[in-house]
Symmetry: D2
Subunit: 376 residues, 4 copies
C-alpha cells in the first residue's frame, strides 16, 4: 500500500513545541511518510535556532527555507509572508504531499496555508478556533476558512470553528499536543543539562526564579520598548529571586523589545537576571513547571501553564480574550500593579492542574485520525 | 479638515466592473482622497488591459504594479499572490492610506488583504459572504476574517458574514455596485462604438447573438480544455446565431482554455464566432443585456444577469452554490445537454428583472458610509 | 568513479538552439550527470513553449522554473531577473551541481550567473566576448567577469574575453554549437512536418518566401511599434513572395511589437503572411536555409546565416557591432531603404558558406573539455 | 534650469564611509537633486544601523528598503540580491533619476547595478578596477561592465578599468572619497563622545588598544569560526593592551564569525576586550588613527590605513591582491604567526602617510564632474 505523504511546516520555536508530539506520532505511523519542512525563524540564531533541537530530536528536515526579510517592521512581516508563499510553493510542488499540516496562528503560518490551498493540497490546521487579543486572531480564523481539517485544542474552540461555518465532521478535539510534552517526561530540572544552553548571566535552577517572556504586540506596534521596560523594572524589585528572561519572538516590533532588554541589562548588571534564546520543548516545560511565577504574554503560560498550575501574571492585551485556567491573573503595562500581582501569585503558589487544553494524548490521536482521513 | 485617504486596489477586469461606481463616488466625496492602485492582470494585454478603460474613465492610478508570474499554473497563482504581497506592502507603506478597499474573492485579492492587515491598515471588503463553488469561496471567507468593514451585496451574504462571527455593526448591505453600472446608462448597443474593441471575427451587434464566457475552475485544474471544447461545440450547433466569446480570466488553467479556443477557432473559421478580450463595464452590460442567451460560468451572469433578466445556461460547478435569480439554468459539461438548455432559454426569452443584488445605488451609499466610519 | 554534475539552464527558445548540441554531448558523456533546468519564457505559450521541443528531443528537465513577471516593461525585465535569482538559487542548492553552464547574453542569463557564482558554484559560459548593439553587450561582458570557464564562438571573441583580464587557459574556442545543428541534419524542408507547428496563415514551404524575425531593442524601448511596422510594410511590397513572420522574444518592448504585428495582420489579411511562435532548432535551420531572404535583427541571421549563406537584411542597431559574414547587409528603420536592400539580396541569392562561427563540431569538443576540467 | 536627479544607494555601513563625502558634495551642488536610498544591512541593528548615523549627518533618505533575507548563507546572499533587484526597481521607477550612483563591490551592490542598467538608467560606479581576493572581485568587475561612468580610486585601478575595454573618456581618478573623511576632521579621540556607542566591555580610548575587524570570506565559506578564533586567541596574548573588536559585516558566513566571538567572549570575560557594532565614519577614522595596531581583513585598513599610517596585520586571503601601502603586513590564519606580526607592527609604530588612495578631495571633484557629464 502506498503511504500517505504528510508535509509538516515548522516555522518558529513556538510552532515546534506545539506540534512535536504530532510529528513523533506521524513518524511512527506506518501509513504515513512524514515530510518535514523547517523554515523562517526556526533557522535563525537570533530566535534560538530551533532547528538544532529538531535535528537532535531525530527529525530530518527535507527543506530548510529561509524567508525572513530582516527588519521586524510591520512591512517586513508582510513581505516575509509573501516570500514564504514563493518558497513554500516550490517545495510543495516538488514534494507533492497528500496533505500539508500547519499549526496555530502566526503571521508566517498564513504563507503555508496559501501555498497549500492555492495548489489544491488539503490543509490540516492545528489549534484553530482560539481567540487571543491581536492580529493573530484574524490570521487564525482566516486560516480556518482556508483549511480542510481542523484539530482544535478545546471544546470552546471546536464550537467556534463549527459556528464559523465549518463542516462539524471535519473538526476534531483531541486536546493540544503541547500538553503531550508535559506528560511524557520527568519534570525535574537539571542544572548540568541546562548549562548547554549558554545564555548570559548566572542561574542556579535549583533555587527560586521568576520567568519572563514578553513578545511584541503587533496591533500596538511602536510601544514595545515601554511595555517591556515596565515588566523588567517590576522584576528588579524582586531582589530575593533569580530572574530568567527569554528573548522575544520574531513578530514586528521585536527590535524594540530586544533593545529595551539590552539597555536594561547594561544598566542592571548586578541584578540577578539571566537571558536565553531557546530551550527544547521539554526543558522549557521544566522551566515553566519549576518557576515561582511567570510574567509576560506568552500563550504557553495559558496552555502548558494551566496544566502545570504555574502562577502567571499576564501582561497587556495580547492574550486578553483567550480561554484560560485559574492560574492566570492579568494586568496592565504598569510597574506598580505588576509588582502587586506578582506578589499575590508568589503568595498563592502552584495551582491545581487543569485539563482545559487536553490530557496529553493528542499527538497519537491526531496521527491516527489522519490515517483514517487519507487512507482510501 | 484633513481628508481620509482611501486606497483602492483593482487587480482584474472583473474587479473593476464591480467597484467602479464606488470609485466614482469616492472620487467625488469631499471627505476622501482616493488613492488608486491598478495591478496584476489589469495591466496585461492578454487579459484585456482594463487599465486603458480605467484611465479613459478619468481615474489616475498612483501605482501600476506588475505581479503576475506568467504560467497560470496553480503554483504560479500562489507565487503571484506572494509577489503581490511584496509589491503592495511597499505601496501601502509609501501611500499611508487610512483604509484599503478591496473587492470580492479572486486569488490576488488575498495579497491586498494580507498587505493591508499585516500593516495595521483597516481593510474594507466588498462582496463578502457570498458562496460559489470553488477555491474562491475559501479565499472570500478568509478575507472576511481579515477585514474590518464589510459591504455585502445581498441579505443572505450579510447573514453569513455575521454568522461567521463578525460584529454586525460593521456589516452593511447596500447591494452590489456592479448593478449601479446598469442603472446609469442607456443599454442600447452601438455597432459603431463596438468597433473600437477590435476582436477577431465579424459581428453585427444589431443581430441575434449568444454570449459565452467560461473561466478556468481551479479546483478541477487540468480539465479546462475538455470543459470549454464541449461548450464551443454546443454553440456551433446554433448556426442561425452569431456567437461572441470572451477570452478567460487569469486563473490557473487559463492556458488550457485559451488553447481549446484557439484550436476550435482554427478548425471552425466559417462558423460565425467572434472573440474579444475586454469591454468597458458599460459595454459589457449592453452586450449581456442584448444577447439572446449567455452560456458559461461567469458570476456576472448571476449578478448583472438577474437584474437584466438575461437567459443564462450556467455550466459546471464554478457557481453551483451561489445565490441566483430565475434567469439561471444549470448544466454539466456535456454538449448535448447544453444544446437542450440553450434552446429552452432561447425559447423562454428575457426574464423579469430581479433586485437580488441591489437596485443600483450602492456606490454612493458605500462612499457615504465610509465618510461616517472614518471621519472622527 | 563519481560523475560530475553539470547543471544547464535553458531560459529561452534562442538559448536552446545554441546549447542543444552541448546538451546532447553532455548527456552521452559517461563522466557527466546532466541536470537540466528549463525556465522563464521557455515554458510559456506566448513565446513558443520551447519546453515541448526540448522534451520531444529526449531531455528530462529536473526543474521547470517560472520566473517571468508578465508585462515586458524595462521594470518587469529587471524584476524577473531578481525573481530568477531567487528561484535558481533554491534549485542549485538542492541539486548541488559541480558546475553550472549557461549561454549567451539575455537578461535572464544574469540570474543564472549570479545564483551560481554567489553560491561558489563554478560557472561555464558559452558565447562570451561577442559584441552586438544593445544592453545585451553589457550583460554578456558582466557575465564573462562572473564566469570561471569560457567557451567562445569566434577567435575575435576569444581575444576580447582574454583582453578583459581573463586567464587565457580558461578560454576555449570550439566554435558555436548552433552551427552543429546545421551539419547534423538534412536541410530539406518538408511541408507535411511543418504542418504540426500550426501558425496562422497559409504557407507552401516549397515555394519562395521571405523570413522576418524582429525583436525589441531594449535600449530604444518605446519605439518598437514603429520599427516593426516599417518592416512589415516593406514586406507587403513583395507580393510575389510568401512572408513568414516569427513572433518576437520576451525582451522589454515585446508587447509593442506584438501589437504592431496584430494590427498589421488585421488590416492585411489578403497579403500572404504567415505567423509562427516557435520551431525546433532543426526546422528553424531549414527555414533559414530555404528562405529567399531574411529580414530583421535576429542574431541567428548572423550566426547560422553566415554558415548557410542566407541573404540577410539586418535592421536597426541591435546587432550593429557584431562580427558577421558577407551575407549581411544593414539598413535603418525605413521602409523604402528596406525594399531596396531586400531586392538587392534577392537578386544576389545565396552566399558562400563561411565558418566564422565554427564548423559544426562544437558540442562534442566542449563536452570533452568539461570532462578534462572537472575530473580530478 | 532643471536639476539633474542623482539617486545614490547606500546598502552597508562600509558603503556609507566610502560615499559620504560624495553625498555631501552632491547635496550642496546646485545642479543636483540628491535622491538617497538606504537599504539592506544599513537598516539593521545587527549590523550597526548605519541609517541612524546617516540621518544624524543631515541626510533625508527617500526610501528605506529592507531586502536582507536573514540567514547569511551563500544561498540567502544570492536571494537577497534577487529581492534587492525587485525592491530597487520599484524605487527607481518611481523616483525617475537621471543617473544612479553606487559604490564598490559588495554582493548587494549588484542589485543596484542591475536594477539601474536594466531600466536604461545611467550607472555611476565608484571604486571600480580594484582587486582583492574573493568573490567581490568578480562582482566589482561585472559591475564595471554594467556601469556607464567610473570614478576609480587609484591610477592602477584606472588602468585596469580601461584595459577591460572601457572608454577612457568615462573613467576618472579623483581618489577615494573615504580619504576625504580623514582630512576634514580633528582626529583626536574623545572618551566622552565614544560613550554614546554603547558596546559591551570597558574601554579607555586614551590608553593603548589593538583594533580587530575580521569579515567572513565568502570563497572559504564554512571556515569562519576557526579563522576568527585564531585571531581572538592571538589578541588574548597582548594582555597589556585593550582590544577593540567590531562585529563582522553581513556577508555569508557572518553567523559563524559572530558565534566564534560570542563563545570567545563568554570564556574570556576578564580579558579586556570591547565589542562594537558601528561607528560614524569620523569616529571610525579616529579609532583607526589612534590604535596601536589593527588586525583583520577590512579594506579600510588598506584604504584609510595607508593614509593614516596605521600599522596593520592583514589576515588571510580576503585582500591578498589589493594594492596597498607600506603599513600592511600579511599573515595566515595561525595564532603564533599573528602574535609575531602584531609584535613587529607594534614595535614599528606609525608609518608615514601615503596618498595611494587620494589626498582627500574626491567628493567635490566627483560632484563637479557629475554636473559636467549630465548637464546638457
Amino acid at each position: 500500500m502506498k503511504k500517505i505523504k504528510i508535509c509538516a511546516v515548522v516555522a518558529s520555536r513556538a510552532n515546534y513545541a506545539r506540534i512535536k508530539y504530532v510529528l513523533l506520532a506521524l513518524k511512527e505511523n506506518p501509513d504515513v511518510e512524514l515530510q518535514l519542512i523547517v523554515g523562517a525563524s526556526t533557522l535563525l540564531y537570533r530566535f534560538g535556532k530551533a532547528i538544532d533541537v529538531i535535528v537532535k530530536d531525530g527529525f530530518n528536515p527535507l527543506r530548510k527555507l529561509y524567508y525572513v526579510i530582516e527588519g521586524e517592521t510591520l512591512t517586513t512581516q508582510a513581505k516575509s509572508t509573501g516570500l514564504g508563499i514563493i518558497e513554500l510553493s516550490s517545495a510543495f510542488e516538488e514534494l507533492q504531499p497528500d496533505a500539508v499540516i500547519t499549526v496555530a496562528d502566526r503571521f508566517e503560518t498564513m504563507a503555508t496555508a496559501i501555498a497549500a490551498t492555492y495548489q489544491n493540497i488539503p490543509l490540516i490546521h492545528l489549534q484553530g478556533g482560539e481567540v487571543s487579543g491581536n492580529i493573530d486572531d484574524r490570521v487564525r480564523h482566516a486560516i480556518t476558512k482556508l483549511a480542510d481539517y481542523h484539530f482544535v485544542a478545546t471544546e470552546e474552540s471546536k464550537k467556534r470553528v463549527i459556528h464559523m461555518g465549518t463542516d462539524p465532521a471535519k473538526v476534531f478535539n483531541f486536546g493540544c499536543p503541547s500538553i503531550d510534552v508535559l506528560t511524557h517526561i520527568d519534570l525535574k530540572i537539571d542544572n548540568q543539562i541546562m548549562k548547554n544552553y549558554g545564555g548570559t548571566g548566572k542561574i542556579d535552577w535549583g533555587k527560586p526564579y521568576v520567568l519572563m517572556m514578553q513578545h511584541p504586540v503587533t496591533t500596538t506596534y511602536g510601544s514595545g520598548y515601554f511595555e517591556v521596560t515596565e515588566t523588567l523594572s517590576a522584576l528588579k524589585d524582586f531582589t530575593q529571586y533569580q530572574k530568567v528572561v527569554l528573548w522575544p519572538n520574531i513578530d514586528a516590533g521585536t527590535d524594540d523589545i530586544s533593545k529595551a532588554i539590552r539597555v536594561f541589562r547594561e544598566k542592571n548588571k548586578e541584578d540577578n537576571f539571566s537571558f536565553f534564546r531557546n530551550f527544547s520543548p521539554e526543558d522549557y516545560a521544566r522551566i515553566l513547571n519549576n518557576c515561582t511565577c511567570a510574567i509576560g504574554n506568552s500563550s504557553s503560560f495559558i496552555r502548558e501553564g494551566s496544566f502545570l498550575g504555574t502562577p502567571v501574571v499576564m501582561v497587556g492585551g495580547r492574550q486578553e480574550n483567550r480561554e484560560h485556567g485559574k492560574n492566570i491573573t492579568s494586568c496592565d503595562y504598569q510597574k506598580e500593579t505588576m509588582i502587586l500581582k506578582i506578589k499575590q501569585q508568589i503568595k498563592h503558589g502552584k495551582y491545581q492542574s487543569e485539563t482545559l487544553f487536553g490530557d496529553g494524548n493528542a499527538g497519537k490521536q491526531i496521527s491516527k485520525k489522519i490515517s483514517v482521513l487519507f487512507i482510501t
